[in-house]
Symmetry: C2
């Protein structure tokens, strides 16, 4: 039908539409992060985008929907960065190290997404399970198999429960991500080194270890 072609030339293509929406999402991410959900009003976002407020609503159903789209976009980017970094090597311990490094680096380079995680939990706590944990759970299945394999091969201690181990690692990087963001961090490289050293080898001295 000619109508389809006509429409295609008259209308912005689906491609164009999603590009504009994406532009809105990325600008909103930064503004939400900078001002907080409540103080980031739609008029302000419109001004930043050099567009009228009504235009935003052509691409977005509501402020809430927009915000959640921002969080989701950020988390998917994060997951991508971590996965890519992990796949760069086959050595299992190096893989763990790279994944952690990529995770912390991502949030260090895109601090707006740390803010969005916090905002989401603070404001939509009764409406939505935190997106961060959705992504975390999805990735966990594979990491669990990965760690279990290392235990089976005798490379990790067999007297530690895999799930508790995963929890501990997860909690450590999660806490580190937040404090890095809140307090800043001079040397992210040294920090990661120490962190990995401790979880791999423990903080006890050799003497103390033998004594126990």
């Amino acid at each position: 039908m000619a109508k389809v072609q006509t429409k295609a030339s008259l209308t912005q293509s689906a491609e164009q539409r999603s590009q504009r929406r994406q532009k809105i999402v990325e600008t909103a991410s930064k503004l939400f992060a900078q001002l907080g959900y409540a103080d980031c009003d739609m008029d302000r976002l419109a001004a930043k985008l050099r567009v009228a407020k009504g235009t935003i609503y052509l691409y977005v159903a509501s402020k809430e929907e927009l915000f959640l789209a921002c969080v989701d976009w950020g988390m998917s980017q994060m997951q991508l960065a971590v996965r890519e970094a992990a796949e760069m090597t086959d050595d299992p311990f190096e893989r763990i190290a790279r994944a952690i490094r990529a995770y912390l680096t991502f949030f260090s380079e895109h601090p707006q997404y740390v803010e969005l995680i916090i905002q989401e939990r603070a404001i939509f706590k009764n409406r939505k399970r935190p997106t961060y944990f959705e992504y975390r759970d999805a990735a966990r299945v594979q990491w669990r198999a990965f760690y279990q394999d290392l235990i089976n091969k005798g490379r990790l201690r067999s007297d530690i429960n895999v799930d508790s181990l995963l929890d501990t690692m997860g909690n450590l990087v999660y806490g580190t991500m937040f404090t890095n963001h809140f307090l800043g961090n001079r040397s992210i490289e040294e920090q990661q080194q120490t962190m990995l050293d401790i979880v791999f080898r423990g903080m006890l001295s050799d003497r103390e270890r033998r004594a126990k």
Copy 2:
């Protein structure tokens, strides 16, 4: 002057005043935690307290001031619980274990304060340094000396930087506190056991440790 005595009997004592304020703070803590800062409007808080809205403003300067008082109260209670638990023993490793256990237990039993930490960061991010970190920094001085002493005595590894060690421990318990709160946790006891086991002894198997 007789007037002073008269006034003393008419007026509520300073004691009474601070008790009422405390009642407001504690009720507000739970309501802020349950509904979030924005959805917890002062009318609702007044209803919960079975008091008129105006009355609250006799004890509190503003919603913001009230909220910050809630956070501060919570953190001071937390610090108290941790300090008391740590002082129950002289064995240094047991002291670390007890402090961590008290910390996690406190937030598990008073989940409203986890919410307040999040809300504070989300809503007052540009106005106030998080109260949590104020308290954390205050306590850090003593923990630093404590860990340094253990290193000097050869009970902890001397090749790890004290500050990085403190950071790692802090990040781990911080992250654990949050995820416990968000996801709930079946066995807080087993979790703490694993966590301590890992930071003390590491997750590498003996074989792998020797190989490195």
